[in-house]
Amino acid sequence: MTSAESRTVEALTGSDWDYSPAPERTRPDIASEYGLFIDGEFKEPQSGKTFATTNPATGERLARISEAGEADVDAAMAAARAAGPKWARLKGRERGKYLFRLARRIQECARELAVLETMDGGKPIKESRDVDLPLAAQHFFYHGGWADKLQWAFAGRNVRPRGVCGQIIPWNFPLLMAAWKLAPALACGNTVVLKPAETTSLSALHLARLLQEIDLPPGVVNIVTGAGDTGRLVASHQAVRKVAFTGSTEVGRLIMQELAPREIPLTLELGGKSANIVFADAAIDQAVEGVVGGIWFNQGHVCCAGSRLLVEESILEPFVAALRDRMAQLRVGDPLDKNTDVGAINSREQLDRIRSLVAAGQEEGAILHDAQTDSLPEKGHWFPPCFFTGVQPSHIVAREEIFGPVLAVMTFRTPEEAIRRANTTPYGLAAGVWTDKGSKIFEIARRMEAGVVWCNTYNQFDAGSPFGGVKESGFGREGGLHGLRGYVR
């Protein structure tokens, strides 16, 4: 693109043409305090401790959340264990009907839940409304249908539930991650103690209200809120027969160490530094859109974010120009505004981490390109979308998971080099390949060391599509037929 063309794009799409605010006005019914959801009821924490949950876009306190201590986790585990046999004996079809019911209730409450998710976590309402909520509902609907078909899912085996599952989920897709964990566990006849992330407990607690409404038997799902200490209590509890964790590789490793003396099956969905490879023969406009969605979706708080862009050298300049133009059009700000593309960073802690990694990128000599930042709200945690060029594979921004809206752009000359560079990482969650040549797609996809490969697309998710990584991105799959495997014996 010439500079004149670039100016034309700016004139057509720039800030002169800003949208009017379109705030979402629905407000969910947020209580001032939330107990722990144990044995079908909300209970005061025996620990006596609570903590505040805030809206990262405003700093406003939303509610006080209970911090589950040892006695609380014990109570949740006891409830899950007590509910186990009856739930496991229930006919698959009946178990499935609870999941179908839940899917329906989520759909009916989708607007309130989407707003709640956005208020508690900072993600744009557009995304919680169009991605998180529909997928969460779909997940329960999909797995509801598996509950009475397990004998065909596991041909030749007489599978049984594992028992009590300890499940720990992250803050980037709070409700959706709860759905990913709960749905297959329940469909297979297990009972659950779920621990949401401490900055985003609300949607799980509202999900607990729906579990009461659908008359799910008490104890089948228990939700204990708290931070890392609570998580450790859940993962290491003697009652658990299965642990599923989504979060950082660092914590995943600690869980493996904690459980090393025991034969507890694990599902780990950990970090990533996924490569998005764009060949010169790709449909460039589509590739630009895919790269944008790949890294800036959900502020880059995505384990499978396409955070390393590998562009064929011959198209680097026009591609980077197009990316810069597209980045300039992203609307950063009030997550409750329906026009917002990039919302708030989830927590102060995460913002600090992103800032320090970006500073490290600059110190190492990479060139930072960031979106205009003059209109960012004064309160809350914000980090505008950005990307680095001039990145060496050895740079911190090319190696470490940033979990923020930061893209590292690198180049390659041959397919072999692209494959080598893409695989030169301890992670192996996802990869993207952009080319119009079918044979090239299959060969690159085959050789990617990753559990999910998006070809001419990126960041697609579906209840029926197994998701999970290899290498230090973890093991086990969630979603689809393969996601059931972790929940039976």
């Binding site: 590789t249 209840a463 029926g464």
Partner: protein, 289 residues
Amino acid sequence: MSRLEVVKTGKLWIGGDWPRSESGATFVVENGKGETVARCALASRKDAREAVEAARAGLPAWRDATATLRGQVLYRAAEMLESRADEFTASLCDGGEGLAAARREVERSVDRLVMLAGWCDKIHQIIGCQNAVAGPYHNFTIPQACGVVVTFCPASPALLGMITLVGAAMATGNAVVAVVPRAAAMTGVLLGEVLAVSDVPKGAVNCLTGDIEPLLEPLGGHREVAVMVSSGLGKAARTTLRLAASDGIRRVHTIPWTGTDWEDDGETCSPWFLEQFVEFKTLWHPSGV
């Protein structure tokens, strides 16, 4: 006139070569009567690392061979095993097995290998699938080899256990480092000799004999190892292995089978067993014109 017997020294099998242990150490393999049957190389930590490197180097040739070809190679190995049945029977008898039981184990092992050979070009169809997603995308999930697999083979059944673990890893396209305990060492060496003349690419299978404990950490913590499958390890050893594996977030599968469990084809050749040796990869592509 009595003839002095030529006693064989069993060596390691690494990268297609037959080195003695880098440490030079050996151990004595005795039969049930306390007579020396053979000496075997005692694998060191360095041997273990070298075996992993060799497996990594040998992986592409095996993994990227067509599934049909891999099946034929495994079938060839079954042919070679059958032709050396007496030798294997004797080796198992040296390990304390009765003659009839040893014969049965060898026959079962040949048959197991034939069954696994047949899986090479079929397992994908059983455990892979197409996924109906809610959008205009073609989406499918395929099993792929994990990479380098370490199999901790049981002392008993020496041959059938090793054939099952190594054969399953091979059938799914992995390169293997087989770790064989002292009691099964000579059988392990013989099996290596069989595979070595069955068109298995150099380094695709490697065999280490000796004491398991010193090898747990170097193998479990090696980043080129994708998966470990353990059989016959005690609780402490399994814990050590899992702790080492946690460093690289590597999977450790514990095989619970003992004794006659290994004879059950329905369990030991099931897709659910073979699945422990694959990674599932899900591919998405838009569909439209």
